[in-house]
């Protein structure tokens, strides 16, 4: 039994230690949304620049556990330059992946596939999905602050 190694994969550590696309920008061309989870202290803000229905750029900032922070970095890489419908499909696939279900397009998930191990740690699903929820809400035209479910 070594579920923990499945959870904390090498790719997750790399994104945690050297997050990509981290830091917000002062640019009104970006849509911005924040989600706080006071019960565990996670606090994530995501910015998305949409151009012609394409996610041209994604930025993230915040604090939380390694799963939450790395997941924001991975998400920003995976969804960048995707069309909105494509991005929504990938987000839904990610939710299936972490529940341990079959996904429609494994290739499109790219590095996010590293989070498959979460399925064995149901209490950590929220950590992994936080930033994905925020970007999903932005694509649904939400801005400002998102209510935690």
């Amino acid at each position: 039994m070594n579920n923990i190694n499945d959870l904390y994969r090498q790719v997750i550590m790399e994104h945690f230690k050297s997050p990509r696309n981290k830091g917000l920008v002062e640019d009104t061309g970006y849509k911005k949304l924040r989600l706080k989870n006071p019960s565990c202290g996670d606090d994530i803000t995501i910015q998305v620049k949409l151009e012609n229905n394409v996610l041209k750029d994604i930025k993230h900032e915040g604090s939380g556990c390694a799963i939450c922070c790395s997941s924001a970095s991975v998400m920003s890489e995976v969804l960048k330059n995707k069309e909105v419908t494509e991005a929504n499909d990938i987000i839904n696939d990610f939710y299936e992946l972490i529940k341990g279900n079959d996904v429609k397009d494994e290739e499109a998930l790219d590095e996010a596939i590293a989070y498959a191990g979460i399925a064995k740690f149901p209490a950590r699903v929220k950590c992994a999905t936080l930033s994905w929820k925020v970007v999903g809400a932005i694509l649904n035209n939400k801005e400002g602050e998102l209510e935690d479910e």
Binding site: M13, C40, G64, C65
Partner: protein
């Protein structure tokens, strides 16, 4: 080893029998329940599962007798009178009842409510509301360098305007025991009443409300082997009688007229509606279990495990322990540079269950300068072997995350 036979005790808990590898160190959140408590719940539902104080038939009479007997047993457990024991949904409801009912009765503009940063949210928040609504002041007793409440600091802030002292007996994060007897005496010399949150104290040490001379004291059943959904509010009878009920309805009233009605005396006037009958009935089995072991023995057991727990953690590289002198079986700690939730998942891998987060006490975490901590908490079924397994798991977690920070 002390007087508790933990291997015998462990066999009385089916969660441990069904999860033989589990090292359960989250009893400060909720204790496990012994077979005798679970059996009593089943006995009620199977043999006389009807409402109390209402039916004029034998089954209802038996249920009522069983229910009332728990009140007597709780009263004996804390050395109060039977009619000073109010059953509530839990400590939270008990503390809310005092704030909403008694607080609104006695607090006026300009009065002071004294409290501390060690409080659980259920102790603090109801009084924040009272203070805001009544334009009263909420004043905090400074904690010492270790995060303890001291008599010296308490003396510095109490004054003639202080009407209520809202304070924890044992901190659910730091596990420190408040020097409560002296604090109560000082409070009374200023004519202030003391509302004591004993949720973490009642499971771990003998409580004598008469000796303490405390005005209100609250605790929960589920942290001391009892069922969930049940708590106790102790109040001095005179104070309980002054207080209006929070819930009006069935069973709490005497005469009902078209435009006004009268209520029963305490404690019944606070128990409107059908109570958690099964839980109350089964709670007496929890108290009997604790009484059999002896609260002094339980206290000594906690002290022994605390030493092993905190002593062991302090020796592990990169571990920060925040409550090195605590004695009630609670260790509050972090691994440097790693979020508590990440460590908790690594401990889970080794079947060790601990709490990670702010434990419903954000003020003390702000005081500590941490968003969250890890909390390992012991109880009667834990032994030194559990502590060893826990310490090995922490070492494993520290090693696992070495490259991460």
């Amino acid at each position: 080893m002390n007087k508790l036979d933990t291997s015998k005790i462990k066999a009385d808990f089916n969660v441990l029998n069904n999860n033989p590898d589990l090292v359960y160190l989250d009893s400060a959140a909720s204790s496990l329940k012994p077979i005798s408590v679970v059996n009593k719940l089943v006995e009620y539902y199977n043999e006389y599962g009807v409402n109390i104080h209402r039916g004029v038939y034998n089954l209802s009479y038996r249920a009522s007798e069983e229910y009332d007997e728990t009140r007597k047993i709780v009263a004996k457990f804390i050395n109060s009178k039977k009619n000073e024991v109010v059953f509530t949904k839990g400590t939270t409801e008990a503390l809310n009842l005092v704030a909403t009912s008694y607080g609104n009765l006695i607090i006026n503009e300009g009065d002071e409510i004294l409290t501390t940063e060690l409080e659980h949210h259920s102790s603090l928040l109801p009084w924040q509301i009272v203070a805001t609504n009544k334009k009263a002041t909420l004043t905090y007793v400074d904690l010492d360098d270790e995060g303890r409440i001291t008599v010296d600091e308490f003396k510095k802030v109490i004054n003639e305007k202080t009407k209520v002292v809202v304070i924890t007996y044992v901190s659910n994060v730091m596990g420190y025991v408040t020097p409560i007897k002296e604090i109560i005496d000082i409070a009374h010399s200023y004519n202030a009443i003391v509302v004591l949150d004993a949720a973490q104290a009642a499971p771990h040490m003998p409580i004598d409300v008469k000796e303490l001379d405390v005005d209100f004291l609250a605790f929960s059943g589920h942290k001391m082997l009892g069922p969930t959904g049940l708590g106790v509010l102790y109040g001095k009878y005179k104070l309980l009688q002054e207080m209006p009920p929070m819930l009006y309805g069935g069973d709490m009233n005497d005469y009902v007229d078209l435009f006004e009605s009268t209520t029963k005396d305490a404690p019944e006037k606070f128990e409107g509606g059908t109570q958690p009958i099964a839980e109350v009935i089964a709670f007496k089995e929890a108290i009997k279990y604790l009484d059999n072991l002896g609260m002094e023995n339980i206290k000594a057991h906690d002290e022994e495990l605390s030493k092993a727990l905190i002593g062991g953690l302090s020796k592990i590289e990169n571990v920060v322990v925040y409550n090195k002198t605590a004695t009630t079986g609670i260790a509050c700690f972090n691994v440097k540079g790693v979020h508590p939730h990440d460590i908790a998942s690594a401990l889970e891998e080794k079947n060790v269950a601990v709490r990670a987060g702010h434990h419903c006490a954000q003020l003390i975490h702000c005081w500590l300068g941490e968003n969250g901590t890890l909390r390992a908490s012991t109880y009667i079924y834990n032994n030194l072997e559990d502590i060893e397994k826990f310490l090995d798991a922490v070492k494993y977690a520290v090693e696992f995350f070495k490259g991460w920070s």
